[in-house]
Symmetry: C2
Subunit: 249 residues, 2 copies
């Protein structure tokens, strides 16, 4: 599996992807799932992928071919708006999936997060479904997840309320990623982070390896905080509750 | 869906179940998923259920019938060991599922957690699969989950390291339950808790309703702790990292 997430903030965007791929437990690999396209100076795209690795790679190759070929065809250099970039990626995904579906069935599909900025319009993040349509992140919970999204959702839900800056949000993202990797072997390091500041059209990229001291320290403090939070929780008196709110046997 | 969990501690056992059932979003109900059997003075069983509600109810009815009927048939009163109680529940589950499988297909299946104590042997918790076999909780992570288990797994993983007592563990269980309910509408209050002290053959039971002040206070402190833990996390300097561990574009 895979776990990728993206967050939309006042200052910009945060992306984080794991790199583990597996076709069975005896065929585990490491592939980049965070891809950057900057076809012209005033547009920048980040594409994160989950699902069939072959489909993902063919979509990336077709994006590159469309960008390289001269002509009028639709590409990340020509789409006027981000939502059209999402529809473009969705169309490529459907085309690639359809070509392989006879052999692969439903296993050929892929899901994407597309984020970035085009010109003066605000940056945004969109989730592109295998069916080719898309949704934006909501205003209340401005993040998107693909792949193994359940394990790390609570931390995002709660921590995003803190309305942190780009650095804090990157830490939240790493916390969500580590929660997931701890609970599910199919998600693992290295982790690729991308931080985008609105209007820069350039992505700060960072790869966190398994032995990264930053990652180790984050995990240690995070786990210690959760254990010590337990001590702060108000005590519940089981016997008192029993009298007060006993459930029928 | 459903979320049930059980923990095995030095002092005894902790059980927690939600009560939400749904057949589509427009058919949501509240059913007890934590059931207690104390057929004779020196044995106590807790059965938690996830999956098809009709199958679960028929299994419970058959357990009761076997207990009520005089005779030599296998029942929770006669099985010599906990693992045989698990196999007994597994057999009932398979029989009920098989009778309804022509009409329902795979949707008729149910999964159980069986916990309790028989005589002098130590209490234990076992997960009973729809196929009728079982596993115990591991020594390293002495908890079991059924239903929507992913959302609340991280909190259990981390917090169980704290090796708390029965009260602390009940708080951990509630934290895991609230993480799940927050992220997934198909899990919801009231929550039924059962706390068992080794050798008592009696279960302390408590129902936490949605408006429970205890639950509200727990959630508020827990969420505040997570947000404040963020502030404690070591800062990461994105630009410094960029130089040090830049990923290939």
């Amino acid at each position: 599996m895979t776990y990728c997430l993206a967050m939309r903030l006042e200052e910009g965007l945060v992306f984080l992807s794991d790199t583990r791929t597996n076709a069975g437990v005896d065929d585990v690999g490491t592939y980049r799932k965070l891809h950057v396209f900057r076809p012209v100076p005033d547009r920048m795209f980040v594409l994160q992928s989950a699902g069939n690795l072959a489909t993902t790679q063919e979509v990336l190759d077709r994006i590159a071919v469309d960008l390289a070929a001269p002509g009028e065809q639709e590409s990340l250099a020509t789409v006027p708006h981000l939502f059209e970039a999402a529809l473009y990626v969705g169309r490529l995904g459907r085309e690639v999936t359809a070509r392989h579906s006879e052999a692969l069935g439903a296993n050929a599909s892929a899901t994407f997060i597309l984020g970035g900025q085009i010109g003066e319009t605000p940056p945004d993040i969109l989730l592109v479904y295998p069916e080719g349509n898309y949704i934006r992140a909501s205003d209340d919970r401005p993040f998107l997840q693909i792949g193994e999204s359940k394990y790390g959702k609570f931390m995002l839900d709660v921590a995003v309320m803190a309305h942190g800056d780009l650095v804090t949000s990157t830490k939240i993202a790493l916390g969500s990623m580590m929660s997931t990797a701890r609970a599910n072997l199919s998600v693992g390091p290295p982790y690729d982070a991308g931080v985008y500041r609105t209007g820069t059209f350039a992505l700060d990229e960072h790869r966190f390896t398994a032995d990264s001291p930053v990652l180790g320290e984050l995990r240690e403090v995070w786990e210690r905080s959760i254990v010590s939070a337990l001590a702060e929780l108000p005590d519940i008196e089981l016997t008192a509750l029993s009298d007060e709110t006993a459930a029928p046997a």
